[in-house]
Symmetry: C3
Subunit: 463 residues, 3 copies
C-alpha cells in the first residue's frame, strides 16, 4: 500500500518546493522593509526624522536579543530533543526544517494581521524576525509532544495550520483584548502545549509500546540534550525581554527571568531527588523542569513583580513541572491516551497557565506609584484610564481564549494529520532515524571489534 | 626517513614559537589602538570630538556582531568538520590553531595594506577584529578541502601565504575596484574555496582509498557536526552584516540573510530527499547545503535586494549545493583529481560565485529612488556620479580577479606545501587523529565489556 | 552507617529548599530594582534625568557582555568538565546547580557589602547580574579541583562559604585598597584556585587510585569538553570587559584579551607537542592551557598594555600552564597531597598570579600622557593625585590579601566539608555519575549487540 510507505522521495520535495514557491510569491507581493531597515524612507526626511541618529535604529536594541532567541529556537529546542537514542538526526534536523518554514510563514501571517490595523504592506525588520521566531517556538513545542511519531511532511502540514491559528490568537490577545504577554506564557507556551497535546491525542497510537525500547536515552544523548537545556536556560531572559518596550521594561524583564530560573533550578533538583526512591536525580527533570521558571514569567516578566515575586514563581514552576513528569505524564498516557514524548505539558502547559495567572494577578496590583511614568510602557491601557481590574480580567480572558483556540484548533488539525498521506512511521518504526535518514553504518567500529574479540575468545576456549 | 615521519615534537613547537615571536615583534613595531579603543586620543579633544558620546563608540555597534562571527569561526567551522569518525580532535583542534594564528597575521596584513592609504601605524579595534576573523574564515574554508590529509605545520604554512594573498585580493576589490562585498561572497568564499581546491589538486593523493573507511561519519559525529552547522546558520545574518555601514544597511543585511537561509533550508531538504533513491535525507547535505543561502548573499545582502529576491537566491543556492554534493564532487574527484573532503566547492565555491553574480546584477539596478540617501552608504561611488553599469562591471571584474588570484595562488602554494618537510600523514594515516594526538585508550569500556560477555557466552556454550 | 550513605533523597531536597526559602525571604526584605531597571525612579524626574535617553540605559552597554559571561559559566565551565568518561551528568548538572545557587547568594552578599557604602537597599540590575556571575565563576573554579570527589550537598555548602569570602575579599580589593581587577585575575581566578586547592588538600583521599581508571576521558567526552573550552575562549574578551568603564576602556579590554588568547593558543600547541615524547598533542593542554591568556589579562586588560604586551603575557601564560600540567600537577599530588582533578592550579592559579603581577607592573607605568582623560576611567585614584607607585603597591598587596583569604578560608571550609554528613562518595565511587544520577541502561545497544554476536560466533565455532 502506497499509503503506508514512509518514502519521502516525492512527498517531501513537493511539499517543500510548493510551500517555498508560495512563500516567495507572497513575499514578492506583500512584503517590504520596515522604516529602520529600508534605505529610502530612512534617509528621505533626514533632518526631521526621529531616527536620524543611527544609534536609535531598532536594530541595536533588538538584534542581540533576536540572536539569543534564534539560538533558543534552533540549538535550544533542537538539542533538547536529542535525548532519544536513535532519533538525534530527526530531532535536530526536523526541528531545523520546521523552524525554517515556520518563521517565513509566521512573518506573513503575523504581518498580514498587523497590516489590517495599520494598512499598507507587511513590514519586516528585527521586530518581525523576533515575532516570527516566537511563533516558531510554539510550533516546536507542539512538535515536542509528537516527537518520534510523525513524518516531516506531517509536521510541515501541522505548521501551516498552527502558525495561522497562533497569529489569530496572538492578534486577539494583544490587539483586541490588549493583554500583555511579552514572553508568551499564553501565546507561545500555553497555546503550543495544548495545541500539541490535542493533536497527539487525536493521533493516539494504541500499540506504541512496540517501540518503547527506543523511547529512551543513552549516556551521550543525555549530554547532547543538556546543550539544548542550557541554551534555553541562559537565553530565556533575552526571550522574555526581546519584544518589551525599550529601557527599564526590557532591563527588568531580563532580571526577573534570571532570578526566576535560578530559583526554579534549585526546586527542580530538590524535587527530582525527592521523588526518586534512591534519591537519584533524573536527567529528564533537569533537562526540562529547570526551564519552567522562564515559561512562568512569560507574562509577568516585564511587570514590577520584583525579584522576590519572580523567585517564588520560579520555585513553584520547577516543583509543578517535576511532579508533572513523575505523576501526571503516566496518568495522561494511560488514562487520557495522550502520548506526550517530551512532556510538554509539564514544561510548557502547566507553567504556561501558571504564568498567565501570575500575569493577571500582577497586573491587578499595578499602580502609578509602583511604575511611575513607566506605567505607559507596561500597561498603556491602564495609563489611559482603564481600571486595573479590567486589565486583569482581560489577562484572564486571554488565557481562556488561548486554551479554547489551542484545543479546538488541535482537534481539527489532528484529524487533518490523521489522513494516510503523510508517510508517517508505523508503530514499530517510531523513534527511529533510519526511517527518514541515511544512517552511517558503523558505530565507532564497536560492534565489529566486539565480534572480532568474540571470535578470538571463542577460539581460545575451543583450544 | 626523517622526511616521512609525522612526528611533530620539534616541527610544531618551532613553527608556532617562531611565528608567534615574529607576530609579537611586528605588533610591537607597527600596531596601536584605534581611536575608539585607545584612551589618549579619545579624551584629548573631548569637547569637539564627535565620539564624545560614549554610546557612539564603535564597540557598541560592532561587538555583538563580532562575537557572533567569532563563534562561527571557532565553533561553527570547528564542529562542522567533526563529522569524520576518527578526526574530531584534529577538526576542532587544528581549526582552533590555524584560526588563532591567522587572525593575528591577518590583523597585520590587512592593517598594513590599509595603512598604505591612510599613512601611519596599523590601527586595531573591533573593526580590525571582525576583518581578521573574516580572513581567517577563508583559510578555514581552504582547510575544509584538505581536512584529514595534512599536518598542522602544513596548514600553518598555508595560512601564512593564504592570509597575505587574501589581504591583497581584498585590497584590490574594495580599495582599487571599489566593489562591494560586505559578507565576502567573493573575498572570503570564492577566494577560500578555489584557493583550497587548487591546493588539494596539487596535493592529489592517488592512493587515498586506503583510508576511505575512515572518511565517513558515525552517528554521534554527525550530531556534533550539526552544532557547527546550526551556529553557522543562526549567526550568518551577523556575519554578512558585521562590517556594513551602521543603521539601515546593517539592519537590512541581517534581514535579507535571514530570509535567504530560511528559503535555502527548504530547498536543501527538498533536493536531498529527491536525489536519494529511497527518499532518505543525507546529513552531508543538511550540514552543508543549508548554509549556501548565507554564502550567496555575501555581496548583495546589504543592497535593496528585498526579502523576495533574497529568498530566490537562497532557494537556488541550496539546490545548487545539494546537486553539487551528489553529482559534481564525485566527478571532480575521479576526473579532475580534486579531493575535496568537506565539499567546499558546493558550500563555498559555487554559492560564492552565485553571490558575486547576484551582487553585480543587484548593483546594476541601484537607483537613488530605491536607496534614498542610503545610496551613499551602500554605493558611495554611485552617489558621487559613477554610473551603475560601471559599478556592476567592477563587481563582475572583482569576481574574475578573485578567481585568478585564488587559482594562481593555490597553485604556487600547493607546490610549496608539497615539500616533504611538514610531516604530513601517509595515505593510510589520513583521517586519523592518532597520528598527531594522544588518544584515550578505551571507548566507554565497550570493547572490554564485549570481550567479557564473549567469554561468558562462549563458556556457557562449552558448558 | 547512615553517615557513609550517598543517598540524596532527603539531604539534597532539604538543602535546596531551605537555601532557596532563605534566599527568597532575604530578597523580599532587602532587594529592589536599580535605577535603570525599575520603572518608578527612572521616569520620575524625566526631564532632568541623565538617563532620560533610553539608549543610555546600562542594559544596552552591559547585557550582551552579560550573556557571553552567562554562557561561559553554564556552558563553558559545565562542558569543560565533561571530559571525564563517566562523570558527564555530574559535571554539567552539578555545575548548573551550584551556579544557580551561587548567583543568587552572590547577589545578596555583594549587594550587602556595597550597600554598606551607599546606604539603602541592595540594588539589582545588569551590573549585579554580571558581578554575581563572576563570583559564581570563582566557586566553579574551586569545584574543578574537587570534581568527582564530592556530593552536591557538599558543593552547595562550600558555595555558601566561598561566596561570602569572595565578596569580602572583592570588597577589600576594590573598595578599600582601590585596586583594579575588572576581569578578576585576583578576585576570581587566584581566589577560586587557591581556595579550591586548599579545600582539596584538606579533603585528601589517600586511596583515590581505586577510581583511577575512571579519571580519564574517552574520545567523545573530549570533544564535549572542547565545546566548553571554545566558549570560554571566544567569550573571554567579553568576560574581562564586562564590568569596565564604558567606551574605550571596554573596547580596549576586549581587544587586549583577544590578542592575548590568540598568542596563548600558539604557545599551548607548541609546548604540548614539545613535552610529549612522540610530539603528540594532549587534549588536556588544549582544553585548558589555551585559556590561560584570558586569565592572565584579568587585571591589566583594561590598561594601556598594548596588543604587543597582551601577546607577550598570553604567550607566557600558555607556556606556564602546559608546563604546570606536565610537571607540577603530578608533583602537587604525590608530594603535597593536592588532588586537583581539572588542574585548576595550571589554568587559574598560576596564570591568575601572573595576571596580578602584570597588572601591578602595568599600573606602575600609567601616565596621563598614555591614558589622556581616560586615566580617570582606569585609575581614578591616580587621576586624583595618588602616585602610581602607590597604585602598583595596592595592586601587589591585593594579591597577597587574596592569597591569604583564599588559603585560610579554604582551610577552614575544608574542615567543615570533612564532616561525614554530606553523603560524599567512597574512594571507589569517585568520578562516577551512577552514585547520584539515574543512568540510562544501555550504551547504544553496543554491549547487547556484542553479546549477540558473541553467541553467534561461539555457536559457529562449536558448529
Amino acid at each position: 500500500m502506497a499509503n503506508t510507505s514512509t518514502n519521502m522521495r516525492l512527498r517531501l520535495p513537493i511539499t517543500c518546493i510548493v510551500l517555498e514557491v508560495i512563500l516567495i510569491i507572497l513575499f514578492g507581493v506583500a512584503v517590504e522593509y520596515d522604516h529602520d531597515a529600508g534605505g529610502q524612507d530612512l534617509h528621505k526626511n533626514h533632518s526631521h526624522d526621529p531616527h536620524d541618529h543611527v544609534y536609535e535604529n531598532s536594530f541595536y536594541y533588538r538584534y542581540p536579543s533576536f540572536q539569543d532567541v534564534h539560538v533558543m529556537i534552533f540549538i535550544g529546542f533542537g538539542f533538547l530533543m536529542t535525548f532519544l537514542q536513535r532519533y538525534g538526526f530527526s530531532s535536530v534536523g526536523f526541528n531545523f526544517l520546521i523552524a525554517a518554514f515556520s518563521l517565513q510563514w509566521a512573518t506573513l501571517m503575523q504581518g498580514f494581521l498587523h497590516s489590517l490595523e495599520t494598512g499598507g504592506k507587511i513590514h519586516v525588520g528585527v521586530d518581525s524576525m523576533i515575532n516570527a521566531d516566537f511563533c516558531t517556538g510554539a510550533v516546536l513545542i507542539s512538535f515536542g509532544a509528537l516527537l518520534g511519531k510523525t513524518s516531516p511532511v506531517q509536521m510541515l502540514t501541522m505548521a501551516i495550520f498552527e502558525v495561522a491559528l497562533f497569529a489569530v490568537n496572538e492578534f486577539i490577545l494583544l490587539n483586541v483584548l490588549h493583554a500583555k504577554d511579552a514572553g508568551g506564557s499564553m501565546t507561545i507556551h500555553t497555546f503550543g502545549a495544548y495545541f500539541g497535546l490535542m493533536v497527539t491525542r487525536v493521533l493516539y497510537r494504541p500499540n506504541l509500546d512496540k517501540s518503547d525500547h527506543k523511547k529512551t536515552s543513552v549516556y551521550h544523548s543525555d549530554i547532547f540534550a543538556m546543550i539544548g537545556t542550557l541554551y534555553l536556560w541562559m537565553f530565556w531572559p533575552s526571550f522574555n525581554s526581546a519584544i518589551t518596550e525599550y529601557g527599564d521594561a526590557q532591563h527588568r524583564t531580563a532580571l526577573n527571568t534570571y532570578f526566576s530560573l535560578a530559583a526554579c533550578t534549585l526546586s527542580t533538583y530538590a524535587f527530582s531527588a525527592l521523588v526518586n526512591s534512591e534519591g537519584k536525580l533524573d536527567m529528564v527533570h533537569i533537562q526540562n523542569a529547570a526551564l519552567a521558571g522562564g515559561v512562568a514569567l512569560g507574562t509577568a516578566g516585564e511587570m514590577m513583580i520584583t525579584p522576590f515575586g519572580s523567585m517564588i514563581v520560579g520555585f513553584s514552576a520547577g516543583a509543578i513541572s517535576v511532579l508533572g513528569y513523575k505523576y501526571l505524564t503516566p496518568f495522561l498516557e494511560s488514562k487520557l491516551k495522550i502520548q506526550d514524548t517530551c512532556g510538554i505539558h509539564n514544561l510548557h502547559g502547566m507553567p504556561g497557565i501558571l504564568g498567565a495567572v501570575v500575569g493577571a494577578i500582577t497586573s491587578f496590583a499595578a499602580t502609578k506609584e509602583h511604575y511611575g511614568d513607566g506605567l505607559k510602557d507596561v500597561f498603556p491601557k491602564v495609563m489611559s484610564g482603564t481600571p486595573v481590574s479590567t486589565q486583569a480580567g482581560m489577562q484572564a480572558l486571554s488565557l481562556l481564549v488561548t486554551l479554547g483556540i489551542a484545543l479546538l484548533g488541535g482537534l481539527i488539525v489532528g484529524f487533518i494529520l490523521k489522513l494516510p498521506i503523510y508517510g508517517s512511521p508505523s508503530d514499530s518504526q517510531c523513534f527511529e532515524d533510519d526511517v527518514y535518514w541515511e544512517i552511517p553504518k558503523e558505530e565507532d567500529g564497536c560492534q565489529e571489534m566486539a565480534a572480532v574479540k568474540a571470535v578470538e575468545e571463542a577460539e581460545k576456549l575451543n583450544g
